[in-house]
Amino acid sequence: MRLYFKYLQILFKSQMQYRTSFLLLSLGQFFIPFAIFAGLYLLFERFGQIKGWQLFEVALCFGIIHMAFALSECFARGFDTFSSLIIKGDFDRLLVRPRSTFVQVLGSQFEFTRFGRLLQSLFVLIWAVMNLPIDWTPIKMLTLIFMIISGVLIFTGIYMLAATMCFWTVQGLEVANIFTDGGREMAQYPLNIYQKWVSRFFTYVIPFGTVNYLPLLYILGKSEGDGVLYLLTPVAGSLFILPCFLVWQFGVRHYRSTGS
């Protein structure tokens, strides 16, 4: 863990060398999701609701998933840009070092400019929470935090899967975007607005549903039953990263260098 923070420090210093560019990029990262949120807001202004969900309820959903996405983009960026490590042959260097490849790849890139995105999702989250009549119990607060953490873990898991594919295909796969960008786009609305097959896929295969939809029902008081059970759904969802980790280990063992 110390090593990872050391990596972060170095990367932060190197990115701060280009201060204007850094600020501009952060600003842009603030405005892109802002435009998406503005679109969502305008749709609510026209239609009033979406399958019985109100603006602020969806805004909460939006804030949580975008925050998880921004955090995972910050921290797990190394896996996202992994194909360049393979193509250049830089991965060979990581292999000979006496540290786990996981930490090294994780630390190879860190996108501090994504803080803009993070800030934007935080605004939406706070705005939604302030406008929703929720009586906050410790369990509910804990649930909210768990939702974000497990969202980060799921996105990271997808990045890892996509990176593992690079061992065989060398090039990065655009298809992985379906599950990262697409998953984010999809999970910004409550899952039950979609057709059955979509919501099933994103509950049982890639567990965005357990991160976002089920605990959201509990927080908003739309669910019945034991709160602790709902508290545990995001935890269950975060288990998704375990098989991803195994696949990654398998990939590393079968890696053949491109030799350049």
């Binding site: 501009l24 990029l25 405005f31 435009a35 202004e45 239609f47 298809v175 379906i178 697409g182 607005i193």
Partner: protein, 267 residues
């Protein structure tokens, strides 16, 4: 004219090389399209007032957007040009015996055309045979189809004229990041890529109507579905032409003005 045309051909061939990448792109856009349509479907289900555009028209709008994404997005850019400008290799470009504006215009045009040709047909064809709720409708008449093709191509020419300003601005700022961001966020929003223009509140629609971005995407797509027809479509084509003329002339002037000031520093 000949160098431009042969350059266009060359670029088209080059673009065709990246077929696998294109198919991955098709899959992504396809998924994207379905998700967006489901969101609109959910919004429309309990709509209290009749929305200004019908659901089948929105679905068609979304599919056309996905199919012709490279015709309408700003972020689809040519890093080679940025590098030419910032690295100073622009000096070589200036030695070539043709005009820079036309040359770059042809280059950008060819890039977008080749990417779109690879991507649009698979998406359009699959979308035509989807289950009824998600199906891309065919245009109501042959005239509409012809009008659509004209407006789409004019829109593409217009978009490239707009994006030329992006490259010109790099001469001044030396970094494409800032202008690219501004252009893409503003452009995509007002082109109707985030929320279709007819669904915007009227004050925003007024702004969208004045800016050139809407005429590149929103307008041709609505012509296709018949949401804009007859005289309105003809008027729109005239507006497209006017915008195109103004932007090309302005862009050319701006580029020549800046080129006169360019100092190439050895190396």
């Amino acid at each position: 004219m000949r160098p431009y045309v042969s350059f266009l051909k060359l670029r088209l061939n080059m673009g065709m090389q990246y077929r696998t990448g294109a198919f991955a792109g098709v899959a992504t856009q396809f998924f994207w399209g379905i998700i967006i349509i489901m969101v609109f479907e959910a919004f429309y289900q309990h709509a209290t007032k009749t929305p200004p555009i019908s659901l089948p028209q929105i679905i068609t709008y979304v599919w056309l957007q996905q199919a012709f994404l490279v015709f309408v997005t700003m972020w689809f850019r040519d890093n080679e040009l940025f590098e030419l400008i910032t690295s100073g290799n622009i000096a070589y470009e200036l030695c070539r015996p043709w005009e820079l504006y036309g040359f770059w215009y042809a280059k950008l045009l060819a890039q977008r055309l080749s990417s779109a040709l690879l991507r649009c047909f698979p998406i359009l064809i699959i979308a035509l045979f989807l289950p009824a709720t998600y199906r891309l409708t065919i245009p109501p008449s042959v005239t509409t189809l012809i009008l659509f093709i004209i407006t789409l191509l004019l829109g593409l020419l217009l978009l490239i004229a707009i994006s030329m300003f992006l490259y010109i601005s790099v001469f001044v700022t030396m970094s494409p990041v800032g202008s690219l961001l501004l252009f893409s966020v503003l452009g995509e929003f007002f082109a109707g890529l985030i929320i279709p223009v007819p669904l915007m509140p009227s004050w925003l629609q007024t702004i969208a109507n004045i800016l050139p971005f809407r005429w590149t995407a929103d307008f041709p797509f609505r012509v296709y579905s018949g949401h804009i027809s007859g005289q309105a479509a003809i008027n729109g084509i005239l507006i497209q032409l006017a915008y195109l003329a103004v932007l090309v002339v302005l862009g050319r002037c701006a580029l020549n003005l800046i080129l006169r000031k360019v100092v190439v520093q050895g190396g």
